[in-house]
Amino acid sequence: MLDQIKQEIDRLKSRGATYADARWYPAEDSEQLVMVNGNLKANESSNQSGIGIRVLYKGAWGFSAASDVNNLPAIFDSAFDNAKIAAERVTFPVRLAEKEALQATFTSPSKEDPTKVPLSEKVAFLSDMDHKLDQPGVIQRYGILNFDKKKTIFVDSEGSQIEKNITEVFAFLQVSALDKAGVMQSRTFRLNRTGLTRGWESIDPVFFTQQCERIVSELNQLLVAGDCPKEIGSVILKPGQMYLQTHETIGHALELDRILGYELAFAGGSFVTLDDFGKLRYGSEKLTVRADATVPNSPGSFGFDDDGIPAQNNLLIDKGILVGAINGRQMVEEANAKARRPIFQGSSGANRATAFYRVPIERMTNIDIDAGHDGTLDDIVRNTENGIVLDGDRSWSIGSNREQFHFGTEMGWLVKDGKITDVVKNSTYQGDTLKFWNSLTAVGDESTWEVVYVSNCGKGQPNQVMQLGHGIPVCRFDNVRIGE
């Protein structure tokens, strides 16, 4: 098969293609188990295989994919034909940043293959957790396990051949109940990084049992809590909400394809312009952000992107100043040319596709915020006069240029004169992106820093869901509109 793929790439080159690559998925196995109130509502697995072909012809992309690979030349021809018609409407011919041709492999860190664990053991685990969640006050219990194991082979016309073997584990527990006003309240636990590997060993029953006890206890606190007040105050975001704030108002805003207008028809644009790099004060001096695909054990660490670029750790925001973007080979060339200055020194390796049948686009890797020097969560609370600690994403809505946002969270703890006073429910906050990040007044130390996984980041047309991570500390922002 590999030889045939290489022959087809050569054939398209001889027909005039300036570049071609293939992503062959010999096998991707996924499994999802969903238990709702003790019922195994979903007991599903899947296997997919196929190939996606990307061709560059006269500065335009064509792409074709199929699950039936018995007629490989037809798939390559289809991609080439798509590129030829696209070449009839080109305004900025696609150029790809230089790269080194690599022969390489990447295997994500995993000790115990989750797809090899007997189904009965996985179901028994979920059932055990369900029993632990079945406590007074709880009316809905959800337990979800997702596993994915894929082998992909990337070959391009520049001589690269990269094999990736990636295993992912995602887990989710949630308890819910109606409060006295008839409003559903929930507390959720998502498995984040607990160690340096992410196989079945991530599913530690002792740790999960502790999380069951915590979310049941917090749900019961919510059920008797008052509503979040409407006020202007400080918000202290724990990692369970801080990750989403970072994701939506830094991560997406700094995708270079968005900045260059490639997502305007659907996902939206960005308030950031090419002129802003090196100048824009995105946040306070306490804010340093990086796109770090080298973080050990995260879905945002994948060895090589789908342009064949090795994983990197790049600064995006340095002490509050915007310095970098999430990008791939095509966009850095276009951005540098349009800015008439070399903003980017080559691809940062963030071009990824969710499946063989989707085309690679700029996706977040691990968009991380450096830990700060403002102590622990307790220290930050102690130094806060009037505010609220928030955790657990509940709703999110962002302006089309990522310029403003509205978030709702599961849990809030009011802070008065340096002390946590009451738990509150139905907590929300909103703001303007730049104003908000410039109001960052405290960044927690290493003890508050966690890697939070994201399993459902959506973008692109055709739509793609991507997995990634955020390494983030507890942060405090002042003068925020709360409770509306």
């Binding site: 196929g50 335009a60 039936d68 018609i85 409407r89 008839g182 049948y357 959506g458």
Partner: protein, 461 residues
């Protein structure tokens, strides 16, 4: 009809029967084409031919599903898929209820939603469509974006309870065109949904874009003060709000789990405006309907809200099994929602602009990124986008920076509805995550709702 698909189903059914297994099997074949535009160029031109084989195995109260994205040539591999599903079901934990296995009493073939001309739309035709849409409108500053996505879906299913099968074949097309100002950052858009090629009207999209561009170039942008406004929503915005009514309002299983703002006690009660009637109407081909659900129930016109009175939840088979309810023919990939039109003869942007007004009215054609603030109270939030206008009392038009609306669906479709247009159109709400699942909602072209709160107002784009 694709004999290969049907014969594969029959052979796998025979294999399952031979090994005394209870299974239902479906094949979903999609042929998708998407041409995407950005910065006035074709930024991506793609096609995907994917075949999904889905097997659900049953063993009493035990159930398991196995999906393969594959080809149909390797029958041994497909049979292994059946084996795998059966084995998973055997190892599963029993449900607390007995899951139903459908019994099809007749073969059912529905190709009424198929249009060969749309299925065979050529690359050159897709490009020509967009060239017509944007003719004369692009400049050095005004850049074209958008998509034209068309596809053919084949969905066929069979199970071990009977030899009969169901087979659906339909075509769809979704078009979005956007003109965006590269430095000022405003955007205007036009959209279309089509089930057949003859429904594609590039001139209509062109005219809308031309009108909005003219208004945006002449109008002065302004930040709206926070407060309450009378808002006219366009079809895209109405469709976007309505999608959430399904998720957090109408689903019987979710109601039983406490996740909806409509409750059992609300049945027969007036919960919305008398002007609001919502049905599931599988007779409308524009909604890419399923005329039988996947359990074999014939799908008919199904009232959900009538003149503001909540008439019924929708029940899929599995939730009906779990909660001992009667399934309502809604075990399908998507509903065929239709909002009945009103009396207002305001059915075009020109007619909206010409409408006499005694106060400022905000026109929001599109809602971006809706968030579920509080599902059990039906509270959503989202921002305006793509061509909002402030129609001033003095007859002039201003350009508002984007604003945020945070309201309950009970309010958005409540007593504040002043009027609905007398003409409706399908608004395409399709997403292409996972399997192709074209979905349109038929909505009036405009809906005016009075006294809605703007909770955030941008100071720029």
């Amino acid at each position: 009809m694709n004999d290969k698909i049907l014969n594969t189903l029959k052979e796998l059914r025979a294999y399952a029967l031979q090994r005394k297994a209870e299974v239902s099997i479906s094949i979903h074949a999609e042929d998708s084409h998407l041409m995407r535009f950005a910065n006035s160029a074709i930024s991506l031109n793609t096609n995907e031919m994917l075949i999904r084989l889905e097997i659900t195995a049953f063993e009493g109260r035990r159930r398991a599903g196995y999906e393969m994205i594959t080809d149909l040539e390797d029958m041994a591999k497909l049979k292994q898929g059946v084996d795998h599903a059966v084995e998973m079901a055997h190892l599963a934990q029993p449900l607390t209820y007995e899951p139903s296995i459908p019994v099809y009493t007749t073969d059912f073939l529905d190709e009424s939603g198929y249009d060969a001309a749309l299925a065979n739309l050529a690359n050159a035709e897709r490009l020509d469509f967009f060239n017509q849409v944007s003719k004369g409108l692009e400049t050095n500053e005004l850049k074209l974006s958008g998509i034209i996505s068309n596809g053919t879906n084949t969905l066929a299913m069979i199970n071990t309870r009977s030899e009969h099968w169901q087979y659906f074949l339909f075509t769809d097309c979704q078009v979005t065109s956007v003109l965006a100002h590269s430095t000022l950052k405003w955007e205007v858009s036009a959209e279309q949904s089509a089930q057949k090629k003859s429904e594609l009207k590039p001139s209509a999209m062109h005219d809308r874009l031309e009108k909005l561009v003219d208004l945006y170039q002449k109008g002065k942008p302004e930040q709206l003060p926070l407060g309450n406004y009378d808002i006219v929503f366009g079809s895209a915005a109405i469709g976007a709000w309505l999608e959430y009514i399904v998720y957090i309002g109408l689903d019987g299983g979710e109601m039983k789990r406490g996740n909806t703002f409509l409750l059992e006690k609300d049945l027969g009660q007036k919960k919305f405006s008398s002007r609001f009637t919502l049905l599931d109407n599988p007779t409308r081909l524009e909604t890419f309907p399923f005329r039988r659900d996947f359990t074999g129930i014939e799908r008919k016109l199904f009232p959900i809200v009538e003149n503001g009175v909540f008439k019924s939840f929708v029940w899929g088979q599995d939730d009906a099994d779990e909660f001992a309810a009667n399934p309502t023919g809604h075990t399908v990939m998507h509903l065929s929602l239709e909002v009945k039109t009103g009396q207002k003869p305001v059915n075009s942007l020109d007619e909206l602009l010409a409408m006499p007004r005694d106060k400022d009215i905000l026109y929001i054609p599109y809602i971006h990124y809706i968030g579920l603030v509080n599902p059990t109270e039906g509270i959503l939030t989202g921002s305006s986008r793509f061509g909002a206008l402030l129609l001033k009392k003095d007859g002039t038009v201003a350009i508002p920076y984007n604003v945020r609306v945070t309201e309950s669906l009970l309010t958005l479709f409540g007593e504040g509805i002043e009027w609905l247009s007398s003409v409706s159109e399908p608004y395409n709400v399709s997403r292409s995550y996972g399997a192709r699942n074209p979905t349109s909602i038929i909505v009036p072209r405009f809906m005016r709702v009075n006294n809605l709160e703007i909770s955030h107002s941008n100071s720029s784009y």
